[in-house]
C-alpha cells in the first residue's frame, strides 16, 4: 500500500477522534474496512471510537480480533493501548507489548512500553525483569536505575513477604554496583542509591557517597537529597556531624529552616534518648549540650530580633524538652520565654499556633501564665494591636478550665468577641472588597463560643446566633473561607441543607479538593437528598465530586511513567502514593454509597440497577481504604479541655469513617446479592477489564458470606442509634428471606445464556469467552432440593417501623433539630427501599404460584402496608413542620432568639430577619421535599 495514499485515508479518522466526533470516526472506519477488511489499525481505531461512545460490547469483539493477530505496528499498538486502557484491560496491554517485544527483541521502544505497561499496574516483578533485559540488550545506564526502582517498589509492596524484602534490597544493591558510572552524576540517581543503602543499613557506604565533593554539592543544592542525608545521619547516630552542619548553616548561611533547629535539638538530647539506661556521664554530656544550644539559640534570637521567630521558638522547645527529661524542675524558664514571645511576636497572626504546644502547663504555672496574660490585654486601636488582641483572646480561651465553660458564660464570651470585632472592623474599612478584614478571627471566635454553648445545652438559638454573626462577617470579608466552613457545619445541623450547599459551592472546590473536602457536604448527604421528589442536586454533587477519581486513573500513571523517562526517581514513591490514595480513597466509597442511597429513591428498582451496584459495591468491599479527608481545615479555637469545633458541629456528632462504610456496605451488598442472579461465577464471566487490586488484609480472603455476616464493634460504634436500627432491620430481613432467594435464583448457566442472548441481540454475536459447556442447562431448571418452608416474618421487622415512628414523634415533641427528624424519616424510607429490593424476586404472580409462596407474599404485603402507614404518618408530620417553618411567626421567633448578636446594634434587625428567612425557607424546602419523596416512594409499585 502506498504510504501517502494510506495516510490520506487514515488521517480523517484520527482527526475525528481528536475532535471527539466518534460517530464520524466509526463511519470512516467502516468505509475503510470495506476496502481492507483485515486492517488491524482501522479495527483498533474503530474500537477506540466505540469505547468512547460507550459501545463496549462491539469494541470488545474488534479488540479481540486485533489482539489475536499479535500486532507489531507502532500505530496499531498505540491505538490498542488506548482501547484496552479505556476498557480497564491493563493486563492485556502488558501482554500485547510483551508479544510485540518478543517478536522484535531489538526494538527498544517496545521494550520500554512493556516496562511501562507493567509499571502502570504496579507489576514490579515483571517490570524489573524487563528492565534487566533492557540493560543487557541496550546497555543504557538508566535501565539499571529502572531496574533498581522496580525492585525497591516490589520490596515496598504490601504483598511482598517481610523476609523477601531484604533479599530484594540486596538485589538492587548488587545491580547498582554493576553500573558503569557513579550515581552522583545525577541528584535522582544519587537519591536512589542512598535509599538502597539506607534500607540495607549500609550507613558507612552512604557516608562515602555523601562525603564525595559532588555528593556534598547535591545535598546542599537539593532539598530532597538533603532530607535523605539528614535521615541517614540520624539513623546512623552521626549526631555530632548533624549538629555541626546545622550550626554552620544557621550561623554562616543564615539559614532559618526549622529543620536545622530541630536537628540541633535532637542532637542535644541524643545522648539520653538513644539508650535505655542513662548513665551519669550521658546526663552530664547532655546537660553541657543544653547549655551550648541555649547559648546558640539565645544569640540567634537576639540577632534576629523581630525578623525571625526561630531562635526564640527554639528556646521554647529547648525548655520544654529540658523539663520533659528532668533537666529543669519547674516551668519558670518556659513561662518567662512565653512572656518574651508574647511581647515580641504577639502581633503575628501565627502566634497562637506557635505557642499552643507550650501551653500544656501544670496548675501552678498555668495560674501564673493566666495572671500574666490577664495583665496585658491589648486594645484594638491599630492593626498590629488588633492581631495581638485576637491572639490574646485565642490564647486566653485555650486555657479556660472546664468549670468556666457554661452555656451562659460562653454566650457572654461570644458577646465580648463580637464587641471586639466591631472595634476592629473600623481598621479595615478602606480595604478592597476582595481583601480579608483583619478582625475576621473575632467573628470566628464568636461562632466558636456559640457552638460550644449549644453543645453543652445552650439551645438551638446559639446556632442561630452563630449563623447570623458569620453571615455578617461574610458581608465584610466575602472571601473568608473559614467563615463559610463553619456555616456549612452549622446549616447542616439546622437542617438548612440548601444554604449549606450554597456556601460549599462558593468555596470553589475543584479537582483533588473534591476528595479532601467533599465530606463537608456529602457525609450522610442522603439525609437531605430530595432525589425522591425529583430534585437530584445532591445526587449530581456526588457524581461531580467523584470525577477526580476517573481523572486520577486516567492521568496519574502517565506521570509515573514520565518520572521514569525523566529519571526523577525521588518522585516515584510519592506519585504512586498519590495514585493509590485517590484510587482507594475512603471518601470515594462513602460518596459512592451515598449516591446509591439517593439513586434508589428516584430510579426504578430493577435487576439492571441491582446487578450493577452489587458488582461495584463488592469491589469497594475488597479495598484497603485511605482517609484523605481534610478535617483540620476548620481552624479550632476551642478550649483545650473541650472537643474541637469540628467534632462539636459535625452532623449527628459522628463523622462516618471506615466502620460506617463497612456496616453500610454489608447492608447493601447483602440485600443486592440476595436480589441478584449474578453470582461469583457469572460475575467473573461477565466482567470486562481487570479486577481492582484487593486489599492485603487477610479478612478479604474470607468467604464473602461470612464477611457479610460478621458484625464488628468498631463498625457499630460509628453508627448513630437510628442507623444501627436500620442495620438490625436489614439483617433480620436478609436472614428471613435468604433461603427462598437461594432456592429460586436461576443457575449460573441460565443467567449466562440470557446474557449471551442479550448481547447477540445488541451486536449480532453471542457473548465472547463463554464455553458451550457453560450453557448446557437451558430453560427453567428447577432445583432438585425441596423448597424451604415459609416461616413467619420475624417480629423485629414490623416493629422496626413502629419504633422509628415512636422515635420520630418523640423528636418532634421535644423540638429537636430538623436534621435529627430528617435522619429518622430518611432511614425509615431507606428501610422500605431495602425491603423492596429484598422482595422484588417474590413479586411476580407466576413465581408465587410456581414456588408456592402465598404465605410469604401475604407476610410481605402486611409489612409493606405497615411501612407505608408509618411513612405516611411521618410525611404528614414533616409537611406540618414545613408549613410552620415557612410562617412569619417562625422568622420572628428566630430574630428574637438572636438577641445576643443584636446587642451592640451594629447588626441590624433587617439583616437578622433576612438570615432568619433564608434559614427557615431552606428548612421548609427540605422538610417539604422529604415529605413528598416519602409519599412518592410509598406509592411506587403498590
Amino acid at each position: 500500500m502506498d504510504p501517502v495514499a494510506w495516510e490520506r485515508q487514515i488521517r480523517p479518522i484520527y482527526d475525528a477522534l481528536d475532535t471527539g466526533s466518534n460517530k464520524s470516526a466509526i463511519l470512516a472506519c467502516n468505509k475503510l474496512l470495506k476496502k481492507y477488511p483485515k486492517n488491524g489499525l482501522t479495527k483498533a481505531l474503530k474500537a477506540l471510537a466505540l469505547v468512547r461512545s460507550q459501545k463496549v460490547e462491539e469494541a470488545l469483539i474488534l479488540c479481540d480480533e486485533v489482539l489475536a493477530h499479535k500486532p507489531t505496528e507502532d500505530a496499531t499498538l498505540s491505538a490498542m493501548s488506548h482501547v484496552l486502557r479505556g476498557l480497564g484491560r491493563h493486563t492485556d496491554v502488558v501482554k500485547m507489548f510483551e508479544d510485540a517485544f518478543k517478536t522484535q527483541p531489538g526494538n527498544e521502544e517496545y521494550a520500554a512500553q512493556t516496562f511501562f505497561a507493567n509499571v502502570r499496574i504496579g507489576n514490579w516483578r515483571a517490570a524489573q525483569q524487563v528492565a534487566a533485559k533492557m540493560h543487557k540488550t541496550f546497555e543504557n545506564v538508566r535501565y539499571v536505575y529502572w531496574y533498581v526502582t522496580a525492585v525497591m517498589l516490589q520490596a515496598k509492596d504490601p504483598a511482598t513477604p517481610e523476609k523477601m524484602r531484604e533479599l530484594l534490597h540486596q538485589l538492587a544493591h548488587r545491580q547498582l554496583m554493576t553500573s558503569p558510572s557513579p550515581s552522583y552524576i545525577q541528584a535522582d540517581r544519587l537519591y536512589q542509591h542512598l535509599t538502597v543503602l539506607r534500607e540495607l543499613k549500609l550507613y558507612d557506604d552512604a557516608q562515602k557517597v555523601l562525603e564525595h565533593d559532588t555528593g556534598k554539592t547535591m545535598y546542599n543544592n537539593s532539598l530532597a537529597v538533603d532530607e535523605l542525608r539528614r535521615n541517614l545521619w540520624q539513623l546512623s547516630g552521626r549526631w555530632t556531624q548533624e549538629r555541626e552542619l546545622a550550626v554552620q548553616r544557621i550561623t554562616e548561611k543564615k539559614d532559618r529552616n526549622w529543620l536545622e533547629f530541630l536537628s540541633i535539638l535532637d542532637a542535644t538530647f541524643a545522648p539520653i534518648v538513644s539508650s535505655e539506661e542513662v548513665s551519669d556521664e550521658a546526663r552530664t554530656a547532655c546537660s553541657e549540650q543544653i547549655s551550648r544550644t541555649r547559648e546558640l539559640f539565645t544569640r540567634i534570637s537576639e540577632e534576629d530580633g523581630l525578623k525571625d521567630r526561630s531562635g526564640l521558638l527554639g528556646l521554647l522547645e529547648l525548655a520544654k524538652r529540658s523539663k520533659h527529661y528532668g533537666f529543669s524542675q519547674d516551668s519558670s524558664e518556659l513561662l518567662s520565654l512565653l512572656q518574651t514571645y508574647w511581647h515580641r511576636f504577639g502581633d503575628k497572626a501565627c502566634f497562637y499556633e506557635d505557642v499552643k504546644p507550650y501551653l500544656e502547663l501544670d496548675a501552678d504555672a498555668l495560674s501564673r501564665w493566666t495572671s500574666f496574660i490577664d495583665s496585658v490585654q491589648p486594645s484594638c486601636n491599630t492593626e498590629a494591636n488588633l492581631r495581638r488582641a485576637i491572639n490574646w483572646h485565642k490564647t486566653r480561651r485555650f486555657t479556660l478550665p472546664e468549670c468556666e465553660i457554661t452555656p451562659e458564660l460562653e454566650s457572654a464570651r461570644a458577646s465580648e468577641y463580637i464587641k471586639a470585632y466591631f472595634a476592629g472592623l473600623s481598621l479595615g474599612k478602606d480595604l478592597a472588597e476582595t481583601e480579608l478584614q483583619p478582625a475576621d478571627d473575632l467573628v470566628i471566635l464568636a461562632a466558636h463560643a456559640f457552638v460550644s454553648s449549644w453543645s453543652i445545652g445552650g439551645g438551638e438559638k446559639q446556632l442561630y446566633n452563630a449563623s447570623v454573626v458569620l453571615e455578617y462577617g461574610l458581608t465584610k470579608s466575602s472571601h473568608s473561607y473559614h467563615m463559610r466552613l463553619l456555616l456549612i457545619q452549622i446549616y447542616r445541623l439546622l437542617g438548612s441543607a440548601s444554604l449549606a450547599l450554597e456556601h460549599y459551592r462558593l468555596l470553589g472546590i475543584k479537582q483533588v479538593q473534591n476528595d479532601t473536602l467533599s465530606h463537608l457536604i456529602l457525609a450522610r448527604a442522603s439525609t437531605f437528598s430530595l432525589a425522591g421528589s425529583g430534585d437530584i442536586t445532591y445526587s449530581n454533587e456526588c457524581l461531580e465530586s467523584s470525577q477526580i477519581y476517573m481523572t486520577n486513573s486516567h492521568e496519574t500513571s502517565d506521570w509515573i511513567v514520565r518520572a521514569f523517562t525523566q529519571e526523577k526517581y525521588s518522585q516515584i514513591p510519592d506519585l504512586i502514593a498519590l495514585e493509590d490514595r485517590l484510587d482507594n480513597s475512603l471518601q470515594r466509597d462513602l460518596v459512592k454509597l451515598e449516591h446509591v442511597r439517593m439513586r434508589l429513591t428516584h430510579e426504578p428498582i430493577n435487576s439492571e440497577l441491582i446487578d450493577m451496584e452489587l458488582i461495584e459495591l463488592k469491589f469497594n468491599f475488597d479495598r484497603f481504604h485511605h482517609d484523605n479527608r481534610d478535617i483540620d481545615i476548620i481552624s479550632n479555637y476551642q478550649p483545650s479541655c473541650q472537643k474541637s469545633i469540628f467534632e462539636q458541629s459535625v452532623l449527628f456528632k459522628k463523622l462516618p469513617g471506615p466502620g460506617w462504610l463497612f456496616a453500610f456496605l454489608k447492608i447493601y451488598i447483602r440485600a443486592l446479592q440476595q436480589a441478584s442472579d449474578v453470582d461469583d461465577m457469572v460475575e467473573a464471566k461477565l466482567l470486562i477489564g481487570d479486577r481492582p487490586k484487593q486489599s492485603h488484609d487477610p479478612e478479604v480472603q474470607r468467604p464473602l458470606k461470612e464477611r457479610l455476616a460478621t458484625r464488628k464493634q468498631v463498625e457499630l460504634d460509628e453508627l448513630t442509634p437510628n442507623e444501627l436500627a436500620l442495620y438490625d432491620f436489614a439483617t433480620a430481613l436478609g436472614d428471613w428471606l435468604e433461603p427462598h432467594h437461594d432456592h429460586i435464583r436461576p443457575p449460573p448457566a441460565k443467567v449466562l445464556a440470557d446474557a449471551s442472548k442479550q448481547t447477540e441481540a445488541k451486536t449480532g454475536r453471542p457473548l465472547q469467552g463463554i464455553e458451550p459447556a457453560d450453557l448446557t442447562t437451558n430453560g427453567h431448571a428447577k432445583k432438585d432440593e425441596e423448597a424451604p418452608p415459609v416461616k413467619d416474618a420475624p417480629e423485629s421487622i414490623a416493629c422496626f417501623f413502629d419504633d422509628m415512628l415512636a422515635r420520630f414523634k418523640k423528636l418532634v415533641e421535644s423540638g429537636e433539630l430538623p436534621s435529627e427528624l430528617l435522619h429518622v424519616a430518611t432511614l425509615t424510607q431507606e428501610a422500605l427501599l431495602l425491603f423492596t429490593i429484598e422482595t422484588l424476586r417474590f413479586k411476580p404472580a407466576s413465581v408465587v404460584k410456581m414456588y408456592k409462596l402465598g404465605a410469604l407474599a401475604t407476610s410481605c404485603k402486611a409489612i409493606r402496608t405497615k411501612a407505608v402507614a408509618v411513612l405516611k404518618d411521618m410525611s404528614t408530620e414533616l409537611t406540618k413542620l414545613s408549613e410552620k417553618e415557612g410562617s412569619s411567626d417562625q422568622r420572628k421567633a428566630f430574630v428574637q432568639e438572636c438577641q445576643v448578636v443584636q446587642d451592640g446594634e451594629q447588626i441590624a434587625h433587617d439583616f437578622v430577619l433576612n438570615v432568619a428567612k433564608r434559614v427557615t425557607d431552606s428548612r421548609k424546602k427540605v422538610e417539604e421535599g422529604i415529605a413528598k419523596s416519602i409519599l412518592k416512594i410509598c406509592s411506587k409499585d403498590t
Binding site: L313, K348, D515, T516, R562, D574, L575, D630, I633
Partner: protein
C-alpha cells in the same frame, strides 16, 4: 521560621488552607505532576512546626541560549502566614537552584500590573519589570482595575551567569507585548 522541604505529590491532599484562598488557583493533578516529574528541585513547601502547610512555590526551567532561565509559575502563602517573609525565602531557594543547578541566566515571573504589594515585594528582592504583557490574565475581562487588572508585568532578576545584566532593562514598563505571540505592540 518554618520547615522548608520539597513539594511532594501527596501535598495535594494538604494544601487546602492555601488553595481555598481566592487568589490561589487549584489546577488538575496533571498540572502539579508535570512540575514534579521535571523540575522537582524548583518546587518547595513551607510548613509550620505543627505540620500545617504555610505556602509553596512551583517553578520550572525553560528557554534556550541566553534566554535559559528559571520561571516562577506559582507562589502562594496562606492568609494566616503572610508577613513572615515566607515568599522571600521560597524565592531565594528557587533563585539558588536556578543558578546553581540549572545555570540559568535569570529568574522571571508574571504579576498582575495592579498588584502593587507584590510588585513592591519583588522589586525589593531585586526584580525589575522587563515588559508588560497585554491581556495576560484575559479570562477575567476588564474589571474595575482596567488594563492593570488584565495585563501582567514580566519581572526578571539576573543570576550569576548574567553579570552584565543583559537579561533586564530599565524601561521595561514601556515595552508592551502581546500575550499571544510575544510580539511588541
Amino acid at each position: 521560621m518554618s520547615v522548608l522541604r520539597p513539594f511532594k505529590a501527596t501535598d495535594l491532599f494538604k494544601f487546602n488552607n492555601i488553595n481555598l484562598d481566592i487568589w490561589t488557583e487549584t489546577y488538575g493533578i496533571s498540572f502539579y505532576l508535570q512540575y514534579l516529574t521535571r523540575w522537582p528541585d524548583l518546587c518547595c513547601v513551607q510548613e509550620a512546626p505543627s505540620g500545617r502547610m504555610m505556602g509553596y512555590v512551583l517553578g520550572k526551567a525553560e528557554g534556550t541560549g541566553p534566554e535559559f532561565h528559571g520561571h516562577v509559575t506559582a507562589l502562594s502563602v496562606a492568609p494566616e502566614y503572610r508577613r513572615l517573609s515566607l515568599g522571600r525565602k521560597m524565592m531565594a531557594l528557587l533563585e539558588f537552584v536556578s543558578d546553581e543547578t540549572y545555570g540559568g541566566f535569570f529568574v522571571d515571573l508574571y504579576v498582575r500590573c495592579m498588584n502593587k504589594v507584590a510588585i513592591g515585594m519583588y522589586e525589593g528582592l531585586g526584580y525589575s519589570v522587563y515588559r508588560r504583557v497585554r491581556e495576560y490574565y484575559g479570562s477575567l475581562g476588564l474589571g474595575p482595575g482596567g488594563r492593570d487588572e488584565e495585563d501582567a508585568f514580566d519581572m526578571r532578576k539576573p543570576l550569576s551567569r548574567d553579570p552584565q545584566r543583559r537579561s533586564v532593562r530599565a524601561n521595561g514598563r514601556d515595552v508592551v507585548v502581546s500575550a499571544h505571540d510575544g510580539s511588541v505592540l
